[in-house]
Subunit: 189 residues, 2 copies
């Protein structure tokens, strides 16, 4: 039953998220995921390159949104200020999809193999951000450095925000970037 193709994909993602949550990633087989989604194991691998990838479908959208935000930022802004806009945008998206992204993050955090994949995705993401900065005229080297350190800082801010949701993500972002400024300013004596 060929359906739309897109629907099978969504059902597979949903089934995988549930099963990984219920039994854990390691004790879940791709055949089980396919069965719950009402398709064959073979079809699973037609939609996702491997057992981990099924949880990382939205990553590309997030990356594109951030890259667009970097491209759309007004001229004359410093690299970190440009990135900050992209990070705020990512925060919006994260919050909007919270009901889906929360169990997802829980499963990833509990599974080394999935954390590994997440790090790889972040590497792609920072490379895309660096490339977007270069298109704005930021120097070859500086763009990569800004993207990676900026992303690490953003990641810390998000972590702080998840621990203390009483304050907005934007506040945490400002505070964490201020921390970074403090770290660099005091060093090199």
């Amino acid at each position: 039953m060929p359906r739309s193709g897109e629907e099978a994909r969504r059902r597979l993602q949903q089934a995988a998220l549930e099963l990984y949550g219920e039994r854990g990633f390691d004790r879940t087989t791709t055949a089980e995921i396919a069965a719950r989604a009402g398709v064959t194991e073979r079809t699973f691998f037609r939609h996702f390159s491997d057992k981990r990838e099924v949880l990382f479908g939205g990553e590309a959208d997030l990356r594109d949104a951030m890259v667009r935000e970097v491209a759309a930022a007004p001229d004359g802004l410093e690299p970190f200020d440009v990135l900050l806009r992209a990070f705020r945008k990512a925060g919006e998206i994260l919050e909007r999809n919270r009901p889906f992204s929360e169990p997802r993050l829980a499963v990833i955090a509990a599974t080394p193999a999935l954390r590994e994949r997440e790090l790889a995705k972040h590497a792609y993401l920072t490379e895309a951000l660096a490339e977007a900065l270069r298109r704005r005229g930021v120097g070859e080297r500086l763009a990569g450095l800004a993207a990676q350190t900026g992303w690490a800082t953003c990641h810390h801010a998000v972590q702080a925000w998840l621990d203390d949701s009483s304050r907005a993500l934007d506040e945490h972002l400002d505070e964490t970037f201020a921390d970074l400024r403090g770290l660099t300013a005091e060093a090199g004596a």
Copy 2:
């Protein structure tokens, strides 16, 4: 032939590095590695948890050396200055093992699955550095932020050094950290 056990391990690492280099990671089977090392496939998995891990045996030593360097740094230094000492130490080790680490890095760079594992190792490494900073009294949050951004900066410096070996790694480290200072200082207008 039970030998020392440590020798089989080394032979497996050597055989894996050679085969990954000759045919590529994907077209090499663990059985082939074991055969070239003169042992059974089962023995391969007794020494290494998986097909990738065989290339990452030395990572733990590097991490321990850096952690020791952080712990041994004199009191009163800023977090980034402490890390800088650890990075210089890592540079020494890297350079000393260059004949082994060069083909290794080439294989890793050519194989997505191995790059993924490398990122995971770096995550462990930065977490260890953060913990070492905390033991020096650096704040919970700040330690993690410093370790991650510091490591990213170090990584860029090493990259720059590999591209331009005419200057010492230390120079590249200083320069890259200066770049980071510039990035943070100019932002937040």
